[in-house]
Amino acid sequence: MNTFLSRVNTIFAFTLSVLAALTFGCFLTTVFNDNIAPVQIGTTKAAVKNVANFAASTREKNDLGQIAFDLHVDLAPLFNWNTKQLFLYMTAEYETANNKLNQVVLWDKIIKRGENSKLDFKSMNTKYYFFDDGNGLRGNKNVTLSLAWNVIPNAGTLPRVKGDGRYILKFPNEYRQ
């Protein structure tokens, strides 16, 4: 321990070990959180059109759902020292004749630690086009809207958690013109 270089070497190695231990400790303190919160979802408009699927660049006509939704959720209890941000996404999940399971994200939001985490939206428009892979939305009486979030930590696991509450959406039997 008497040359400058070996001292620097030891300090460097020690710093790295301490940082690694702290990071691991940070991960351990929050790994068992369940991160669930209650959610209220509703819709104020639900219609279906049948148009060429421009999002998938085909000439095929697919069902396009048009929805405006209400959302109420309080995510403040989910934020702790190890939460960097929450990635929220609202999913529509349903079954059609073509596919047994369809999941489409209609809207998403990033809430960073420190930002407002109590959301109360009324009649929000969806962010993304709700195209079906086929024509399975018209008359579909069982489309489940749910909110989920991906917890992004400062260091650790990346759990995806479904909010406690969902809404069953029913599309009309006629296309809207």
């Binding site: 040359t3 999002a55 999913t91 999941q103 994200v105 991906n150 696991t157």
Partner: protein, 181 residues
């Protein structure tokens, strides 16, 4: 650098043949242990690349360039919307880390999905191969399960400045060969 040379080289001159062989063996042990750990991780997680470094800013502010991701690729776990998947486009080397936003699964289990980076305005159809509209299970290298910030910066530096990489490897090699434990 003057003091540095003398200390180390004195050690080397004092070594006889057997100790030299021992040093090389030591070196070989370290390299093969590292290789075993890597291959072991590959088997345990089911992914061909269990640890990846985030290369672009398309997932900000969740992941920045230089962050490290731990992946698993268990085939029994179905892919669902909202998951962060690492995939490769056919014919291209670079893995992309984005989130699944649309998914259609048939009764047979055959699934097709669409991805988008959190920080991108549009979905990834522009990134896929020409004519490709959806990704399939086989394109997935792994799903992100854990994350550590900043640690991967070393890899990015070594890629951007190859001379730096050779310098580090050379220093490490010399250090292991010369240092007497």
């Amino acid at each position: 650098m003057g003091l540095f040379d003398f200390d180390f080289l004195n050690d080397v001159r004092r070594m006889n043949k057997r100790q030299l062989y021992y040093q090389f063996l030591n070196f070989g042990m370290i390299v093969s242990s590292a290789l075993m750990i890597w291959k072991g991780l590959m088997v345990m997680t089911g992914s061909e690349s269990p640890i990846v470094v985030v290369l672009s800013g398309s997932m900000e502010p969740a992941f920045f360039r230089g962050d490290l991701l731990f992946l698993t690729n268990y085939q029994e776990e179905p892919i669902r919307v909202g998951e962060i998947v690492v995939f490769k486009i056919e014919g291209r080397e670079i893995p992309i880390v984005h989130r699944v936003i649309k998914l259609h699964e048939k009764e047979t289990g055959e699934v097709k999905f669409l991805t988008k980076g959190d920080n991108n305005q549009v979905d990834d159809r522009g990134l896929y191969a020409p004519g490709q509209l959806w990704l399939q299970r086989k394109d997935v290298v792994g799903r992100a399960r854990g994350f550590v910030p900043y640690v991967g910066m070393v890899t990015i530096l070594m890629n951007d400045y190859p001379k730096f990489k050779y310098l580090i490897l050379a220093c490490l090699g010399i250090f292991v060969l010369i240092h007497r434990e």
